[in-house]
Symmetry: C2
Subunit: 760 residues, 2 copies
């Protein structure tokens, strides 16, 4: 497999001389058994002088050879006149011609072979293509129907209905579109999806909807398997625009819901500004009440405050939910939302509204993102979405929530459904990518044992290592998101609602990072084929890249999870503000974690490694210990008089680790619960998937676990070995595993040309 | 920062009642000092019952309060009638109105604050925006000119000349092009670059070139900072097409070189087939000698053997270097290359040549990749590029290299320059991406200490952790590639040539993975701005994604490095074939590594961690130990009679780790050598960069080092801390560090709109 430089000139002996020699010596008595060794010795061009010497020495120690044979062999091993290409070909022909004889072996030359570090039998078998490679994988184990039923869940019928819609010819991807054509195509798709009732499925029946929020979310999720632009634009229209009217507005606004749900009224969700994305609280668009006319004046004070990245704004949106600082007189009441019409019936921007196109993006070009400036745009007072804050005719402000902070987070909290959906339709993209990559890798062949057919690349450990744990994690993430969705739909109380928000933030971040990594691996596992648009993976990767930073930047979200854990202690123990909590956590975590069973940290039994309780213990240990150590670090800084902002800033890396650790506790817990409820037929396979996922998490952080004394080196190694083994075992089921994702063929695009294995 | 659910209905007390109470109680004697605590207690809406109780208890223990004040405080702390929004606003106004008084502190209420886990002084200062946050970073340390001189090296003038060309208006990126327009634009760019002489710079003077291979490579590398399609198409034309003629051909072919170097003769390099990419040895295109006409018949036996992914093929190529199995009679002489004309003067495919477009890709759409089928296409015998194998008029085959294996790898070895170049222009893309990301992050502000201006996001540890080590690694990779280029240009002997090929394979794989990861991080660090085409990162990411799998799939290349290490032992010790070598390595590695100094594995002194010898010891320890353990694993399998192919397949994960470890030894060694030679002025900064890079490598594999007993937990932690600290310290120099990459403004595209910080 290694390259070679041009050989020294002494190699360049004329052909004819050797041929003469060959004819002369080949029939020397006793030479025949050595031919395989001579061939191998020269054929890969890597023979060194010491090797030649060793070869010669072994021959001369060989008692049974007569002088003629010895001379012939010496001649063959003379580096001054090596055999040429024709000689070697001829040699090989001789060996093949007498294959049965050679395969029978020859004990008398075994010691010569051994001196060269070879086994004579092995050498002959390899030369003649007679080795016995491992039997090929089938990839077809497992019951795909059971797996799909598990993932489809109670919304199976809705998902199937959406899949049927997406399989229609009009939903086929088309390459080479202009951005304008691409946007129109996606708009047409949405219209078709709305015509099928998916936009209004989640609205209450009394507002003309289907009253089926679970179905709405399942349909939304399914869109992600097909196209990210479609999913995002659907989400902007029905989730964000429609959702904000429903959840932040009151009865007087709900008359718009039907029009939003049928796409009669295309709308935007105008929250982000150029200057403020993650830090929504400091957005600077203003909505000032004018008591003289009973109107709000919506205004963009400077370019920094323009609305930016607003989906549906560049072309299609007619109205927007606009977030702004609400003023009555000189008093600012913080961020509130209002409905502001953007365009007239012919699509022209209304007076005072200026809209610009965000332009071409790395992906997601089917979504028309735009920037919006408001120049003293007047809307009626009633356009304030007034569920959590209202202004009366006399200009007095009231809110059912006294604390400005609580009010702000309550409003933002209504968006949690959107964040859950992002994680779900992002995961859908990974499912499509994995399906394409596994199907390709199961038929694509490259390299193989000498003399045998080439092997499907899915048999390579490197491929298994990249694709199979990603499949396992995708299953686990799906189950965790399903559980979160159920909690979200289950009318949670205020405390449960807070937990759901934190879990949604964490899962959104964890899952979208997983999706980006997975699509990258899928792309690389398909080589050039993965780079072609027609094979889907490339576009899925480019389109979904933004998921890691929109609907909450992942880095910010993970810190939110970590801070949530710190404040959770306040809920439990009360009587202390954050500083005190941090001090408490710092003390108590040290106490609680001081004892670790020394037997467990080095237990490498498979039963132990796959014991759900032991796995959970490790995951919780990490979470709790990181919580304690970050609290101690924060405490040290606060005690030194560091500004709290700086204290948190200096612990961000730690907070991120804590956030991730918390999400992994959550995922494992939910996956175990789903496993316990799953039909018996699917349990063994599902258990393997959950184990592979959890063990992969442990493996990835083995450095931390060892440094923390939670794992000894031998255990870390055993986990790595088990990950590799589970990945190999599950490869037998690879095709079924991706069939369980339920992606219809129409969505997978053209089957990848594989280069079917040659029979030569 | 956490979301809130709607509060219980008991919270919704009418405004007017509270206002009445407020007026009634606010002037109670002794109440004033408590106002900050009352405000904070309610303002973030997170007050729990136990907290309220603790607050009340502390107050009642407070000896100096009279009954009126106590009653007023009790009233304020009654959860049945909490203050409303207006109350809290009024409270805050009171505190602000008397700010000097409050800032002076009040010892008498410190104990009440303490019961709540607060410090009174801290609370007041935070409320009034009077905390003292850390001073802001400047990002402007370091000497950019010195850094750039270091990276530009002796080819500084050539690089500057290329930068000037790329800064011309015609090289500006244009969004929204069709694929056809995009290809034409890139072709026009190449033509301009060729007109400036960069295509022929590397040709020998006697062939009409500039005789400056180093300059040619530097210019090529610089293209990568601007556009991947440009770099790849340049590489196809001048590196692969021109290079194959020069290195595989002889005098009779060299007459084409001038036309290739000026783009008069656009050409292709037709090696890959649909069925065989990595496994070149098994390609199936045939070139059969016809003695009757003295021609070769080039033929594609079936679709699996079509040439695929061939750059320049879909539109521009007129001639191709075609790799095929060479036959004389029925004898196959293995893979050889021939020149085959593809298109006539009007661009029409010649008879027997069928060409199809590969279609739209995830990126790199400025390169016209195509597929080619040959239907018994006849070319003169002289078109065989015959440096390493020739067919005489009588049909006899001769080669200066007897071993077919050595011949094959010698031919492939001539391509090593291309592989080095891929790594170099890939790294250029990372340089552009890092420059955009750092410049943006230094001015983009988001969040900040209470009451102070928002902070540049580059001050966040999470940002520093992603960008600064990537910059350090980019410097180190640049220096390592520079050293490799020097060795390549230095007329290496055969053994050195083999090492260069192995190092090129490893560096290409390591560096292109680094580039992909880095551009992903750059994208995420710029949020939505990173997603816009105009801001460059997104396109750089999509375009360069393929680098990880073309010019050698990274996974295959890393295994090649590992296998090279195993066979390197043969060079050293001779007298053993691979099986014996593996047995030897397995034994000797165990012996050599059995002793590790127990003091060193837990030494956490900064001097120790930054000691180059100690770093190298660790890197080498990992490499040697992985080599030994993979040899043992292979040995176990071979001893059990496993087919060698399967034995290697089952150790792939291990081989990859070994390959990476070897590359990291090489990079550190070359970086240290460059550091020693660097001008004194740049040494301290460069030393920080090299340390940060090496420590990041050690940190990433801390799990392995601990499991191998080479590092104890405390040392792993110390390394993590030092990585964070070095990253923070180097952030001071961030702007200079990216200026050192020397990317002209014109290449960086439009400056990202940042949302300049508001002064409000």
């Amino acid at each position: 497999m290694r390259g070679r430089a041009p050989l020294p000139l002494s190699f360049y002996t004329p052909c004819s001389f050797n041929r003469f020699r060959m004819a002369h010596t080949l029939d020397a008595p006793g030479l025949a058994p050595f031919l395989p060794l001579l061939y191998v010795a020269w054929a890969d061009g890597e023979l060194t002088q010491p090797e030649l010497d060793a070869f010669r020495d072994a021959i001369h120690r060989h008692s049974e050879l007569d002088q003629g044979t010895l001379a012939a062999l010496d001649d063959w091993l003379d580096p001054a006149s090596p055999p040429d290409a024709a000689d070697l070909e001829f040699l090989l022909e001789r060996i093949h011609a007498d294959r049965e004889h050679y395969l029978a072996g020859n004990e008398r030359v075994e010691d010569v072979a051994a001196a060269l570090g070879m086994s004579y039998g092995e050498t002959v078998r390899e030369l003649l293509g007679e080795t016995r490679p491992a039997p090929p994988h089938t990839f077809t184990g497992g019951d795909a129907a059971l797996l799909q039923a598990l993932l489809d869940g109670p919304e199976a019928a809705t998902r199937q209905r959406m899949r049927a819609v997406l399989s229609r010819p009009q939903f086929a991807h088309r390459a080479g579109l202009t951005t304008a054509q691409h946007r129109q195509l996606v708009f047409d798709w949405i219209r078709e999806v709305a015509r099928e009732g998916f936009g209004s499925l989640g609205l209450p029946r009394e507002l003309g909807g289907g009253g089926d929020v679970a179905g709405f979310l399942a349909g939304f999720e399914t869109l992600g398997t097909h196209d990210a632009s479609l999913a995002v634009k659907f989400g902007v229209q029905f989730g964000l625009f429609g959702g904000s009217i429903q959840l932040l507005g009151t009865e007087r606004h709900h008359r718009y819901l039907k029009a939003a749900a049928t796409l009669e009224l295309p709308g935007c969700f105008a929250m982000s500004e150029l200057g403020h994305g993650s830090n929504v609280r400091d957005i600077r668009t203003e909505a000032r009440f004018d008591p003289a006319t009973d109107e709000f004046i919506v205004h963009t004070p400077d370019d920094d405050a323009r609305k930016d990245w607003i989906g549906n704004a560049a072309v299609h949106g007619r109205m927007a939910t606009v977030f702004a600082q609400l003023y009555t007189g000189d008093t600012c009441h913080g961020v509130h939302a209002l409905l502001v019409p953007l365009r007239g019936p012919a699509g022209e921007p209304l007076p005072g509204v200026r809209i610009a196109d965000c332009g071409e993006k790395m992906g997601l070009n089917g979504v028309d993102n735009g920037k919006i400036w408001f120049d003293h745009v007047r809307v009626p007072r009633e356009n304030l979405l007034n569920r959590y804050g209202d202004v009366a005719r006399d200009g007095s402000y009231t809110s059912p929530i006294a604390s400005p902070s609580a009010r702000f987070f309550t409003m933002l909290g209504t968006l949690v459904g959107g964040r859950i959906s992002v994680a779900k339709f992002a995961l859908s993209a990974a499912k499509t990518g994995l399906t394409v990559a596994v199907r390709y890798s199961a038929v694509r062949r490259q390299f193989g044992p000498t003399g045998a057919a080439e092997r499907p690349i899915l048999e390579y450990q490197t491929h298994q290592r990249r694709l199979i744990p990603a499949i396992a994690t995708t299953y686990v993430a799906d189950l965790a998101l399903k559980a979160l969705t159920d909690r979200y739909l289950g009318s949670p109380g205020p405390e449960e609602q807070r937990e759901i928000e934190s879990d949604a933030a964490g899962l959104k971040a964890w899952v979208t990072w997983h999706v980006t990594r997975t699509l990258q691996d899928c792309r690389e596992c398909c080589g050039g084929q993965g780079f072609l648009v027609v094979n889907r993976i490339g576009q899925l990767k480019s389109d979904s890249d933004i998921y890691t930073t929109f609907e909450g930047d992942n880095t910010v979200l993970m810190q939110l999870v970590a801070k949530g854990l710190l404040t959770e202690y306040r809920q439990q123990f009360g009587s202390m503000r954050l500083g005190g909590v941090i001090r408490y956590v710092a003390r108590s975590a040290r106490r609680r974690l001081s004892t670790l069973n020394p037997v467990i940290v080095r237990n490498t039994d498979e039963d132990h490694l796959r014991d759900p309780d032991e796995q959970e213990k490790l995951l919780r240990y990490r979470r709790d210990r990181l919580l304690g150590s970050v609290a101690r670090r924060l405490k040290r800084r606060l005690d030194n008089g560091t500004d709290p902002f700086d204290a948190f800033r200096e612990c961000q890396d730690h907070l991120l680790a804590l956030g991730r650790a918390q999400v992994e506790v959550l995922m494992a817990r939910e996956a175990r619960a789903a496993l316990a409820r799953a039909p018996e037929g699917v349990q063994p396979l599902l258990r393997d998937l959950v184990d592979l996922h959890v063990l992969s998490c442990l493996e990835r952080d083995a450095g931390w676990f060892q440094a923390a004394g939670a794992m000894e080196g031998n255990k870390a190694k055993a986990i790595r070995e088990l990950v590799l083994r589970l990945a190999e075992e599950l490869t037998e089921d690879a095709i079924s595993l991706v069939q369980g994702f339920g992606i219809p063929d129409a969505i997978l695009g053209a089957p990848i040309a594989t280069g079917a294995p040659s029979t030569s």
